[in-house]
Each structure stands twice: as structure tokens, then as C-alpha cells.
């Protein structure tokens, strides 16, 4: 022990009484933080615990009874749900919907974001005001004409239809976000590229895209989760289709199963796993995406 730490230790003992009083004054604070955390964690914990119990157990005793023996944990629910018709297909569908819809939306928004930020053209302000207005227009308003459009094009219930729909609905927000990010890149970089004779595709692929990686990553994660978790758009365009995603399957089953909805616990956990893994793994990007989103209002 060095002299310095010993001195600190002595000071610490002397002020223990005051410390203790201070700490006691903080007890209500820690208790309230604890209560808030519990309120936000317990519901999810309950689902998680119940997903490893039999449906019979779920109906006769609360999930907390499994916290002490005999717990009676089993993978029954998971087995039942995986064997259920259409379930594994719907997981695959969720991926087949989400990945392309995300990529198309973000890439097209990057093109537009670049043009809105660094090019001048007639109608630019008008177009962008429309984009800002579209941020709050409820997508429900478009369902009837778009359903008719898909029917006319023979696209009803197809993956292509839902990719296009998600792109159309998500694009205003993505364009809005990427324009402000790309617009904040330093002007000098573009000017020196101009002097070197770089054309627009070169500037886009060599400057804009690499320099916007943080924003692109945040947006990709955000759109991915939004599409993966979407119920409304999928149930509207794929509600009766074999291509429906997991959310639609779970949503429709809950309403149709009535008193037997407990079988869906495992399905809900499976639906949550990917978003939660993405969230816990990439929390920083996720929070950035959220904060950027706050600008929209």
C-alpha cells in the first residue's frame, strides 16, 4: 500500500459516518430506480419463463412458481410451435421480406439523399417539402388504391409487392435522415474531388458512402427491425397469402385461438430473439438511430 492510498484510507474512515448518512439519504433513489427497472423487465421475464413450461402449467399456475423447484421446464412449446403448419415457413418469409425491403429502401434513399444534399435542381424544395409532409401521413390511407394496384399488376400476395410497399412507406423518413447526414459532410472533400475531376458516381461510391457508414449502419438496423416487427403492412398485403411473415401468423393465431393463445409463447420468443440480439449487440448504433429519428417529430 502506498503512502497516498493509506492517507486516503484514513480520511475515508474518518468520514464514514457522513458517508453512511449520505448513502442512506440515497436509499429512496435506488429503490425507485430498482422499481422502474423491475416494471420494465418483469413482463418480458414472465414470457420467457412461461415459454419453457407446458401449456397446462401456464394455465394453472403463474410463471413465478417456476422460479423455485419443481420448475418443470420443458421445450414442449418450442417443439409444438416448430411442428405447427406454416410456422418455419413464416420465419423464412420474415427474412425474405425484411432483407430486400431494407436494402432497397436504404439504397434508394442514399441516392436521393445525395441529390437533395449536394445537387441543385428545379423543384428541389417542393419535392423535399412533400417528403417532410409524408413523414406523418398514415400509411393506412394508401391501402385501398395500392391493393387495387397490386391486383391489377398481378402482384397480390407476392414478396415483390411487400418489398415495394415497404420501400414506398419507409422511404420518406430514410431520405429525410440521409439528406441531413450527407449534407453535413465537409464541403472541402467534395471540392477537392471536383478538382481531381471525379464524376458523380465516383464521388458517391468513394466519398459519400464510405463517409456515411455510421448513418447507413444505424438506418439499416432501424429499417430492418421496423420491417421485421411490422404487422400492419404485412397483414394488409399478405394477410391471406402463404408468404405471410411471423408477426402476421402470431397476430392472426392469437385472435383465432381465443382461450388457447398460450401455445404462442414460444413463437413470440422466437419472433423477439433477432431484434433483441441486434439491439444488445449493436446498442450504440441502435440508440443513434433512435436519436436521429427524434429529429423528425
Amino acid at each position: 500500500m502506498s503512502v497516498a492510498t493509506r492517507a486516503t484510507a484514513r480520511v475515508a474512515t474518518r468520514s464514514t459516518a457522513r458517508d453512511l448518512r449520505q448513502r442512506f439519504r440515497k436509499v429512496p433513489l435506488h429503490v425507485s430506480v430498482g422499481i422502474v427497472m423491475a416494471i420494465w423487465l418483469i413482463p418480458t421475464l414472465g414470457l420467457l419463463v412461461n415459454s419453457f413450461r407446458t401449456v397446462q402449467d401456464m394455465k394453472t399456475s403463474g410463471w413465478w412458481t417456476a422460479l423455485y423447484p419443481p420448475a418443470g421446464f420443458t421445450l414442449d412449446s418450442y417443439r409444438t410451435i416448430i411442428d405447427a403448419p406454416g410456422f418455419t415457413d413464416s420465419i423464412l418469409n420474415s427474412l425474405l421480406i425484411t432483407v430486400p425491403a431494407t436494402v432497397i429502401q436504404v439504397v434508394i434513399s442514399l441516392f436521393a439523399g445525395y441529390a437533395f444534399a449536394w445537387m441543385n435542381f428545379r423543384g428541389k424544395d417542393f419535392f423535399f417539402i412533400v417528403i417532410v409532409a409524408l413523414l406523418v401521413v398514415p400509411v393506412q390511407l394508401t391501402f385501398i388504391p395500392v391493393l387495387k394496384l397490386f391486383a391489377a399488376l398481378g402482384l397480390s400476395g407476392t414478396f415483390v409487392a411487400i418489398w415495394l410497399a415497404h420501400t414506398g412507406y419507409g422511404l420518406p423518413f430514410q431520405t429525410y435522415l440521409l439528406r441531413s447526414y450527407i449534407g453535413s459532410l465537409p464541403r472541402e472533400v467534395f471540392e477537392s474531388a471536383d478538382i481531381d475531376g471525379a464524376n458523380h458516381p465516383t464521388k458517391f461510391w468513394r466519398i459519400v458512402v464510405p463517409m456515411s457508414i455510421p448513418a447507413i449502419a444505424a438506418n439499416l438496423i432501424f429499417v430492418f427491425l421496423g420491417v421485421w416487427n411490422d404487422l400492419l403492412i404485412a397483414v394488409t398485403y399478405l394477410g391471406q397469402s402463404p408468404n405471410r411473415p411471423l408477426t402476421v401468423l402470431i397476430g392472426q393465431q392469437t385472435t383465432s385461438l381465443g382461450g388457447n393463445w398460450q401455445v404462442l409463447t414460444a413463437a413470440a420468443v422466437i419472433q423477439m430473439v433477432l431484434p433483441l440480439a441486434v439491439f444488445l449487440g449493436l446498442q450504440r448504433y441502435f440508440v443513434r438511430g433512435i436519436s436521429a429519428g427524434a429529429v423528425k417529430g
Partner: protein, 321 residues
């Protein structure tokens, strides 16, 4: 299965080729044009896909829906009949009333709790851990969240052990169980609680970031001058956070007006919990297009003030830039 493999191939190979190919081919075509024309045309090549998507999927359908709202299910003009129906039918009026409940209580609780929680969490050293807990429901879908909360609100007949978390707590405290989702005094608030549980993390993260921007010297100065914590919150923190709180409030108002998933999964709109967005959905499913469109237009009118506010705020920001 074959169709899915084909779709996967399209998704992995064709989609990127089309996207990248579009801009490369577009630029190649521009390079063939006289320089002056190319300069003027280029921006349109870059914004075209976005503008086309926005036009085909948002702008034109919205206009079309407004027109449909003046027609009956078969497309004959009926004037304002669909609107008269909306404002006289108990189902649509009931959902309008519920949306107002969502608007007031969902927005109020999300913003209020978000502020309170970020102020409280700001004072402990394990702040980021605590914030993660509140933030955790955000990446969870409303569908999964609804299943989660079904276990919170579950009710067993009296005498049998309660399996729902809330009713078990009530039972331990010596109260009778409540049929949260059926009882018309509790069920709308039960559904709103789910929404609050999901969205409070959003408000908390944003407010917390803004809170870090307030100088601690300013707060100390106020405390030295004898202000108590409540006064510090009311007189200093809240006024300084006002722009942030306004943005979150408008975002939440939009969320409240559009709410669909939670009532759809939890109650299918039964027991007087229906909302406008679910009414609209149900009427589309019944091919009752005229009335559905009118419901949609009412929704659009409800968000219009915020739409105008956003445009004004955007214009102001642009002038600053």
C-alpha cells in the same frame, strides 16, 4: 419451397444489381448527352426512384383515397354519406373516442415518465444499465409485446390460482381479481399501458441525451440559491428541454393516432377498445371501401396540424443552415 428459393436468389443477386445498375447506367446515359443538358438532367436521375416510390405509394393513393371517401362500396358518388356514417355510427365514434384516450394518456405518460425516469436515472452511477432495462421493449414487436402482456393481464375464475401477474399481486394484497381486458373502465388503459411500456424507452433516451447538455453549473447555481429539486425541475430543466419535449410529444401524438397492433392482437377491438386504424383495416377487409376511405381521411385530418407544424419547423431549420 421452390418459389422461396427463387425469391431468395432474386433478393440476393437481382436486387443489388438493379439498384447499382440503375445509377451506373443512368450516369452512362448522361455522359452521352451534351454537357449542358446532362448537368440539368443528372439530379433527376438520382432522385427519380425515391420520388417515383413516394408518388406511386403515398401521394397518388392518398389523393385517390380522398376521392373514394365520397363514393359507396361500388364506386357510385354518395356525397358526404360516408362522413355522416362515421360521425353517427357507434363503432367509429367509439374508436374515435378511444384514439382520443390514447392521444391524451399514451402521449402524457410516455413524455411524463420519460422525463421523470431520465431525471432519476441521471443520479445513479449504473445509469446505462438502468436505461437498458427501460429501453429493452423498444426492439420488441407490438405482436410479441401483446403476448407478453397477456400474461400480465390474465384472469382466472375466482377461487383458482391467478396466473396473471397483476391479478396475482392484487390477490396477495387481498383484493379481488380484475378482468383487465374486458372491464370497460380498465381495458383501454390496459392497452395504453402496453404502448407506454414499449415507447417510454424512446422518450427516455432522447430526453436523457438532452439532459446531459444542460450545464451542471447552472443547476448547482440554482440549488445554491435555495431552489429545491422540484423547482429545479420545473423552472430550469423543463423549460430548457422544451424543444426536445415538443418533438417527442408530436411523435407520440402521431403514434397514438395510428395505433393498430396492440388492439388488433389483444382484443381485436372488442369490449369497446377499438381504434380508428383497426376500424379502417376491418372495413378494407370487408371491401367496404367508401366508408374505410372516410375513416382514413378523418385520420389524415387528425395528423394535419402536426404535418403543417413539421413543415414550418423544417423551413425554419433550413433558414438557419
Amino acid at each position: 419451397m421452390d418459389q422461396r428459393i427463387l425469391t431468395a436468389l432474386i433478393a440476393i443477386i437481382a436486387v443489388p444489381i438493379v439498384l447499382v445498375g440503375y445509377i451506373q447506367v443512368g450516369e452512362w446515359l448522361l455522359s452521352r448527352l451534351p454537357k449542358r443538358i446532362a448537368l440539368r438532367m443528372r439530379p433527376y436521375v438520382w432522385v427519380f426512384p425515391a420520388v417515383a416510390f413516394a408518388t406511386v405509394f403515398m401521394v397518388l393513393p392518398t389523393i385517390n383515397t380522398i376521392l373514394i371517401s365520397f363514393q359507396d362500396a361500388k364506386g357510385n358518388p354518395v356525397g358526404l354519406d360516408n362522413y355522416v356514417f362515421f360521425f353517427t355510427n357507434p363503432d367509429t365514434l367509439g374508436s374515435l373516442k378511444n384514439n382520443i384516450l390514447w392521444l391524451v394518456f399514451f402521449t402524457g405518460f410516455v413524455v411524463g415518465l420519460g422525463l421523470l425516469i431520465s431525471v432519476i436515472f441521471d443520479r445513479v452511477r449504473y445509469e446505462s444499465l438502468a436505461k437498458t432495462a427501460v429501453f429493452l421493449p423498444l426492439p420488441i414487436s407490438s405482436v410479441a409485446a401483446s403476448i407478453i402482456w397477456k400474461f400480465m393481464f390474465e384472469l382466472q375464475p375466482k377461487g383458482r390460482p391467478q396466473t396473471g401477474t397483476l391479478n396475482a399481486i392484487l390477490g396477495t394484497a387481498g383484493f379481488d381479481p380484475i378482468a383487465w381486458l374486458v372491464n370497460t373502465t380498465t381495458n383501454n388503459f390496459a392497452l395504453i399501458a402496453i404502448g407506454v411500456w414499449i415507447s417510454t424507452g424512446f422518450a427516455m433516451v432522447i430526453i436523457s441525451a438532452a439532459l446531459k447538455g444542460i450545464s451542471s453549473e447552472l443547476l448547482e447555481a440554482a440549488r445554491v440559491d435555495g431552489a429545491n429539486e422540484l423547482q429545479v425541475l420545473r423552472r430550469i430543466i423543463i423549460p430548457l428541454l422544451m424543444p426536445t419535449l415538443t418533438v417527442i410529444t408530436t411523435t407520440m401524438i402521431i403514434t397514438a393516432l395510428k395505433v393498430f397492433d396492440i388492439p388488433y392482437v389483444m382484443t381485436s377491438g372488442a369490449f369497446g377498445t377499438d381504434v380508428i386504424a383497426r376500424q379502417l383495416f376491418a372495413r378494407i377487409a370487408n371491401s367496404d371501401y367508401g366508408r374505410a376511405a372516410a375513416v382514413g381521411v378523418v385520420l389524415l385530418l387528425a395528423v394535419t396540424p402536426i404535418l403543417l407544424l413539421n413543415i414550418r419547423r423544417f423551413r425554419e431549420q433550413e433558414e438557419v443552415r
